[in-house]
Symmetry: C2
Subunit: 290 residues, 2 copies
Amino acid sequence: MTTQFKIHRLCVIGVGLIGGSVARALRAVNAVDHIVGAGRDSAHLEKAKQLGVIDEYNTDLAIAAKDADLILIATPLGAIQATLQAIKPSVTDKTIITDVGSAKECVLEQAKAVFGALPPRLVPGHPIAGTEKSGVEASFAELFQERRVILSPQVQTDPAALATVRDMWQACGASVIEMQAHHHDQVLAATSHLPHMLAYALVDTLARMDDSQEIFEFAAGGFRDFTRIASSDPAMWHDIFMANRKEIVKVLRAFNDDLHRLTKAVENGDSEFLKDTFTRAKKARDEFCG
Amino acid sequence: MTTQFKIHRLCVIGVGLIGGSVARALRAVNAVDHIVGAGRDSAHLEKAKQLGVIDEYNTDLAIAAKDADLILIATPLGAIQATLQAIKPSVTDKTIITDVGSAKECVLEQAKAVFGALPPRLVPGHPIAGTEKSGVEASFAELFQERRVILSPQVQTDPAALATVRDMWQACGASVIEMQAHHHDQVLAATSHLPHMLAYALVDTLARMDDSQEIFEFAAGGFRDFTRIASSDPAMWHDIFMANRKEIVKVLRAFNDDLHRLTKAVENGDSEFLKDTFTRAKKARDEFCG
């Protein structure tokens, strides 16, 4: 498969699961000529080069970003501001910048802080894809096939830059939709950030019980599925919870209220309340997730 | 594959996912001569007969249970006491009775209520296996392969009856361990009942949000895995929560406290607390669930 869309020089900052998979996906459809990797860890970048994911690398972000047509920032959220600061000297009025962060308002704020105003060729993005694994070894070209990517352009965003980032994700096999940054952060707090918090909290609650060894031994398949996301990278998720703090606290409070009501219902033996809730939940799950 | 162990006449009350899978598994290894199905719904039982899961059936539980060497009660927990009451006239001092309920103390209490004292040939059991599906159509012979079954014999339990129930589960491919009923209920409250409550609560919280349609649209793979168990049978889970109420409320409170602390940490931007918790949880998940 080939595509007419082509990036001449792509700079991927943070060549991990997401950054590495974008590089692989674009290569697979011949949509990129040259890929420069960048990051803090030269051993990791060397590995990425050996795997054929990138053509060259540099741990100096400004050098890596120099002359890039498109810079893809695929670092954890907590590193985005420092990354923008580091690449600033290499950003011209032709350079398109996008990112893959799981929260979007914070990226806009950080870009404003670094550049003084939002650069018109910055297109914040978020692919709704991933696994619980991390690192370039876990990356694969098909990660974005039939997945959605949310882009959050602003009024000042250059339409040509937006079109290029859209083309890039479509070349990776994803479908692209646009959503306001604030609304993105609300929706993702509910569908992604809250479940991750619950999975981490559940495993930690059980791990701190006296008979935790035995408890985990008797965990069945449902538990494994339910807690898979608690194997996700703690540092990455720390950054997400810090970055989308306000919206996450809101959904956590809503969930807490619901769980409190359910706990009361179990305690009081309120059959009807429990049956109604479970039936409603099953219906919603079956309808929406097939 | 064959086994030396053989049940002459097996009565399965509740021919659903679990009851049907036991019947299929025992047939597959030629460990049963004749299987009588029983339940409330004759259309469902007819279906089970057509599928070859049972040889005959009766909606009159006393008739179905008559002359059975082993009676397997695989109804929802809420129907066990009425089932014991119904089969009582057909239970002789040779009849072995076992069940598959997800809580064990309540079964002991109900048996005492029906029989006056615990019948020595009652062996409470719980296979740690299942899927989110229900009904005999979802049953399959391999469901218990390499799964664990917990038996909770009492001091007065007949060792020969215990050995037969143990042999039955081993013939199904399961490994059998013994655990006191009360301890079983504590462990399962943590590993199974709590995760199910969280999955139901999460889906219901999101379903009741204003933009629930959109929220579910943007749910990624992690959400699907995380909420799969919310597709489980609401009536069955209602019974489990009612039956194991005391232990479930304890773990719900412990979880609630932990989640409250995490919510506070997000609110206060307490990086260290979040990182420590996530790291501990990831370590525990990776260690225990491979």
